[in-house]
Symmetry: C2
Subunit: 286 residues, 2 copies
């Protein structure tokens, strides 16, 4: 297991941790200000959200690299299925391709995929995943051409209805195996998988080559909101070192990306304090 | 698969569906009024909650049987671990035994176990389940003597922090196998397991003899509260017939128990309407 007690070269910030700085959340920092603040603290990389990038993907990607960091990824694809997906298959495809284009322009090696909920009228996780597979099969050649990997992120089963009918690493590995493309990978987020005692077995089945990312936050024992009340590392009940040992045990050697949605707490604080806390906790409890 | 298009002899009411009629929820119906309303509608059985029973377990059990029904179960054990559990092991044991005594007095063949959350300070689902196993091993001789089975109910992973570190049928089967007592069984609730594509395999591993109950409600695609916003059967995205086919496919032949926590919707309606709707949906969509 890698020693991160002092080293933060593999620490990445997911900008969701600062409330995206748009849509009324966060302190309103520009991407450039986020880049400077991360560079000052020796972060290794930043993952952005599309809403923060607008039409400045090239410039923002260059600014990250000029500051000595990498762009670790881009969030995210449209929902592919379910009540929150664009209303037509064509609209899904167009937005999916726009997301891939933006990732390529940023220099992000990977685009996160949140697959969307149960297909309306189907009442079936299995059928919905087949529809997801169709969308992925359609997007993969485009992603391959753009040099962007697609990272399936299984979400906590609480989201299965509307946000992700893909709820376990097991199902993600099955989906990868069904499709069989090396560009189709898996992102492991402790918020979504911390409860799963089969994680080690399933990640071993995936293999290190399929693990595109490892996301950090914590699960608060008495969480008040399953979307926007994630905990800072160390404040919850997830076994963060144990989970990292599992992903590294199967060979993962990439970034540890801190992604904390916290509308009532961390998003209301000074971003400087949030970043300092992230660094401190990364060294101490992750 | 059993044909319930007209037959409701295997339909059971879990009184949570009527808001328990205590603590400010529900219409304030007495247990006797619930019994009459269920008997009028040809329900086969009722499962009560301890808070509704007080010191009248014998009388209420007799009233159910006099009305031609059975008591299908009692909810529930104390939380055994985590932040909501009684503060001492002794207090857990005393309350556990009181619950077993009440089930026996009611004539309930089974007591539902909700195991409680992650042990404080442990940050480990696995360790917490070991602590749960200790509590169960202590209670099982008492339950055996009382003629009451203990039904482990795995809860949706969203509750893993505070209410149930037991989150999958897989883990429940593992726990049963570790302890190896025939009185230790499993309750399958569609709210908690509907997303799990391994359900059929895991229930086959459990075997019919270990399935103590099958609970019905629905998962609303855009649920607003993961504790008290369950859907009426047919209003959500769970594959209710498919799930029943799975439990019956491994040999389950017991009650289908309707358990709907719905503070903002069904608990505010006239209980007569709720029960009529339960009957209609049971025949139609379950």
């Amino acid at each position: 297991m890698r020693d991160f007690s002092r080293d933060r070269s593999m620490l990445a910030l997911n900008t969701a941790t600062l409330g995206h700085n748009v849509d009324g959340h966060g302190a309103g920092w520009s991407p450039e200000r986020v880049i400077d603040a991360c560079a000052e603290r020796d972060f290794g990389a930043i993952t952005f959200w599309r809403r923060e990038i607008g039409d400045r993907a090239d410039a923002i990607g260059r600014a990250v690299r000029s500051a000595g960091m990498e762009v670790s990824g881009l969030c995210r694809s449209p929902f592919l299925t379910g009540p929150l997906a664009p209303r037509t298959a064509r609209a899904v495809r167009d937005d999916f391709e726009a997301a891939i284009d933006m990732a390529a322009a940023l220099g992000a090696p990977v685009l996160t995929i949140v697959v969307g909920g149960v297909v309306e009228g189907s009442r079936s996780i299995g059928e919905s995943l087949l529809r997801v597979a169709d969308h992925l099969a359609e997007a993969l050649p485009y992603a391959r051409k753009a040099g962007v990997a697609l990272a399936l992120e299984p979400l906590n089963p609480v989201y299965a209805g509307d946000r992700s009918c893909l709820v376990t690493v097991r199902d993600a590995v099955d989906l990868c195996e069904r499709i069989g493309a090396p560009e189709l990978q898996i992102a492991v987020d402790v918020y979504h998988v911390w409860w799963d005692l089969s994680l080690e077995r399933e990640l071993a089945r995936a293999g290190a080559g399929r693990i595109a990312g490892f996301h950090l936050c914590d699960w608060l024992a008495r969480t008040t909101d399953v979307l926007l009340d994630r905990g800072m590392m160390g404040d919850g009940v997830a076994d963060l070192k144990g989970l990292r040992a599992i992903v590294e045990g199967v060979g993962y050697a990439g970034y540890c990306e801190v992604e904390i949605f916290s509308a009532a707490d961390w998003w209301r604080r000074d971003p400087e304090e949030v970043l300092d806390t992230v660094v401190e906790r990364f060294h101490g409890v992750c």
